[in-house]
Subunit: 202 residues, 2 copies
């Protein structure tokens, strides 16, 4: 398998973590998204018409995109995705929460402040994004203040998806000391067998 | 079942359509999101800590939120969600695309122009949102120009999720005449058995 990716991306890191946890070998093809390398005609036609990484290319030619969709695909039939229908619903609920409430606030702030730089329209939006990030982290804290993991008693792809940008939320200018439940969960996650940091590549 | 909902919401409409297509009875409890009725302590504690509709409450007390997660839950084991693993991946791919690329552009523009009104920070963002909507609709058109449905040969929850806000994209100020594939698909969708318009309630 080839993972088309950009190393600082939390969305890409989700897939790197999942493949590593599952013991699946893969190679990395890197793109610099700050230089528009995923908006070329070749990338749009061959890899992802939406122009985004990560994209996971299989030997038979299938290409899967949308990081949380890829997590669901890879985790099916493994302990990373529960079989109980209510727990599955809780997992997908966190996955959509991540893409709607968390990534567009925490990850976008991190991109503006630490990866791609602030766009022209960013300054006016800063308080909106900061309030959104606070809301999203508040919802996570509410769960993690008295639970080890986001769903049930085990680490699932919900935790992988939310960990990706939460553990680097300081790079988004967010003071994480006010979220003790999240802080414990971030430390707990990093003790998982085969854990690798966001800078790791195969 | 009780669906906690706001009638103009496309996210709510997805669940109304799904329940109707599946022949499942439910009642509606309506909230006016323009008046903050989903941000009360009771709603946040009892229904959804994220403060959003739709939320589907079951007789046994379970409450499911995140519209596309609820679609996955309801469609499991029905023809609305394929069993083939690659088709399932294509379905969830469209569901995440909808919440990340389409809803935050098409639905937000519709909300600003036709539902809740334009917020202070909206004007500066208008060209960004319009460009995002154009990109998202372009990706849909690229599929629908020569296919009847978004995944495989059948209507799936991917179509339900994308139909909800696409069929009212004119209310977002978008000229849909430049998307003939989408326009045919919108007309095709409305011929499905048991189809009901967004204004319908049980």
């Amino acid at each position: 398998m080839i993972l088309h990716d950009f190393l600082p991306s939390g969305n890409g890191y989700k897939i790197r973590l999942m493949l590593r946890f599952l013991g699946q070998e893969f190679s990395l093809t890197e793109y610099d998204i700050t230089k528009g390398e995923t908006r070329t005609d070749d990338f749009l036609n061959r890899i992802n018409p939406v122009g985004r990484i990560p994209a996971l290319e299989f030997e038979d030619g299938h290409v899967l995109v949308e990081s949380n969709s890829v997590l669901l695909f890879l985790a099916e039939g493994t302990p990373w995705l529960p079989s109980d229908k209510w727990q599955r619903a809780a997992v997908t609920q966190w996955l959509f929460f991540e893409q709607y409430e968390h990534e567009p606030t925490v990850a976008v702030l991190r991109s503006w402040l630490s990866v791609k730089g602030m766009p022209d329209y960013g300054k006016a939006l800063l308080p909106i994004k900061q309030a959104g990030a606070k809301n999203a982290l508040g919802v996570m804290e509410n769960r993690l203040k008295d639970h080890d993991w986001l769903v049930g008693d085990c680490c699932s792809i919900a935790d992988i998806a939310l960990y990706a940008y939460t553990h680097v939320a300081d790079e988004a200018g967010i003071d994480m000391s006010v979220y003790p439940g999240i802080t414990r969960w971030v430390a707990r996650f990093a003790t998982l067998p085969d854990y690798v940091p966001i800078t790791w590549k195969p």
